[in-house]
Amino acid sequence: MNTPLFTPDEQKKFDAEIAELLSHYPADRKSAAMLPALRALQAIKGWCPPEGLALVAERLGTTRERAYEVASFYVMYHLKKPGKYTVDVCTNLSCSLWGAEKMLAYLEQKLGLKAGEANERFFLRETECLASCGTAPCLQINEDHHESLTRAKLDALIDKLP
């Protein structure tokens, strides 16, 4: 037998969230809630598994193809289960002017990954400007934002991750 997508508690949470989201849109525009609904799914599961996409589509009265199309367009939705920590390093202009390329090279060495690669624990990516250009260089770990990074700060940050 297939394991269900959610535990009962998770199901409750998901249902409540979808109900709240749908109240933000006109009744005949349920599918407008797609982005926040996928966010709710990912908050619970850590990624957007195919059964999850199907469920979101069903609740929003649209097709799973639509759900997949949206989930694959936006980089923050994970269609594959990511490592425990997704590390997004900004290497855009202002950050590179404050050493971001060097910081990325250091991280690649420290984590034993090239940008774009993942292992069980980390998924290391180059990302685009994170609106911290004045406090460069910066990165995000999952959704948490870290700025004005020095080598010492970065080491402390990575080393104390549970």
Partner: protein
């Protein structure tokens, strides 16, 4: 002579305790502007905004009152307000601080706009990465509902206004207003062909105003001080103050609230602002308004950071993102980073943009690595022209202005720094070796 340092309007309370709470906002006169606006007829509110000469802070500098007046008054359909908090143009990091440190200022602007436009539903669209700004903004929205600012009545007036926060999910293109509307409709962010413009056919096919976060945060000041006084702070065609984001090789990067008369030199060297470059380095190049704005040379920096003033230089004030590159920065490497960004973020709908942006990126990499010849330089220029010719700005062959945004940096870097591109070709290497990023490029 340096322009005077002004009394800030938007950023004035960023350092004060609990600046983001309703309590703090009210204590310093918050929501008084809304009270005044609610006593006026909606059309009069729009007139006041027109008189203030407030121009959009999202990039295009479009007059805000004029935009509001395009919304049809007799439409049987509902009308919407969409707030653009996508803030993803490289070099731009101002809206984030409004959301984090003074979100009620924006909410007050939303309520005034809604009253003026007859809008009962507003969506605040924030880029997906803005977790903390979204938390602060949501908390402020919740406070506003509790205090009777949003909900069935606005400050006791029989006027319903609902406000919902929506987070994107990592796509620069959703900052483009029609892509933002698509995203709000729950779709991928594919810009729409214009016209029709959103003011007539926007969200769910209904009239919609899209305004930037800072634009809306400026609106309460128009009413608190009166439009004439607000207009006077600026220039003839551009009222008020604006937030400028300073980054790159300067001693003191950050967001500074400036007068429309402040020049790039004031900003980069002024004591109240950037305090110059480190270790006696000199300015080589400055991007004046987010990475899509055509780059400037040092001799052009006496110009005011204002929409009209940049037109004769064939550049733009854009989103207020000023990026400084010192004399040890490689222009090819810098442009490669910028080109790569637009290639990554192209939505893929139009052929010139989808094919041209990665092509530019590959050619720039080739030049940077010393593998290119002079024909590649011509080719690069031709590829950029096929996306959008230049000058002037705005001739793009694409559905949205991301195409222009990708081509303008290439054109302007080639125009002003061609010798450096040629040096890469003649020397068959980057003249800066493995240190292309200037004075702060060595991270430690």
């Amino acid at each position: 002579m340096a322009a005077p340092v002004i009394e800030p309007l938007i950023s004035k309370y960023w350092g004060s305790p609990q600046s983001w709470t309703l309590d703090a906002y009210r204590k310093r006169g918050g929501y008084e502007g809304l009270k005044k606006a609610l006593e006026m007829a909606p059309a009069a509110v729009i007139d006041e905004v027109k008189k203030s000469n407030l121009r959009g802070r999202g990039g295009a500098g479009f007059p805000t009152g004029l935009k509001w007046s395009f919304v049809p008054k007799d439409s049987p359909k509902p009308k919407y307000l969409a707030v653009n908090g996508d803030e993803s143009e490289p070099g731009t990091f101002k809206d984030r601080y409004i959301l984090e440190l003074d979100p009620h200022m924006m909410l007050e602007g939303i309520a005034i706009a809604a009253w003026a436009l007859g809008v009962h539903t507003c969506y605040v669209y924030l880029r997906g990465e803005f977790k903390f700004p979204a938390e602060r903004c949501q908390a402020a929205i919740d406070e506003a509902y509790k205090a009777g600012i949003f909900g069935k009545k606005v400050l006791g007036k029989d006027f319903e206004l609902n406000c919902y926060l929506v987070r994107g999910a990592g796509a620069y293109i959703c900052g483009e207003e029609t892509a933002l509307l698509e995203s709000l409709e729950g779709k991928k962010g594919w810009p729409r062909l214009k016209p029709p413009f959103p003011a007539v056919v926007g969200l769910f096919g209904c009239p919609t105003v899209v305004n930037n976060v800072e634009t809306l945060a400026s609106v309460p000041h128009v009413f608190a001080m009166g439009p004439e006084k607000y207009a006077k702070l600026g220039t003839d065609k551009s009222g008020g103050t604006r937030l400028v984001c300073l980054s790159g090789t300067v001693n003191r990067p950050g967001v500074y609230e400036c007068s429309m008369h402040t020049t790039f030199n004031d900003l980069i060297f002024g004591d109240a602002y950037g305090r110059g470059l480190p270790n006696g380095r000199k300015v080589k190049a400055v991007i004046p308004g987010g990475s899509s704005a055509p780059v400037l040379s040092p001799h052009e920096l006496g110009t005011a950071m204002e929409f009209e003033a940049l037109k004769p230089l064939q550049s733009m004030a854009g989103s207020g993102g000023v990026i400084v590159m010192d004399d040890r920065t490689c222009m090819v490497r810098s442009l490669w980073r910028v080109a790569r960004f637009y290639a990554e973020e192209s939505c893929g709908q139009c052929t010139p943009c989808r094919e041209g942006t990665p092509w530019q990126t590959r050619l720039l990499r080739k030049i940077e690595e010393g593998r290119a010849d002079m024909e590649d330089l011509e080719l690069l220029s031709n590829v950029a022209t096929s996306i959008a010719p230049y000058p002037p700005i705005g001739l793009g062959n694409t559905i949205c202005a991301l195409g222009d945004a990708a081509a303008l940096p290439t054109h302007s870097f080639l125009m002003r720094f061609r010798a450096e591109f040629e040096a890469h070709i003649h020397e068959k290497r980057c003249p800066f070796g493995d240190k292309p990023w200037g004075e702060f490029g060595e991270w430690s």
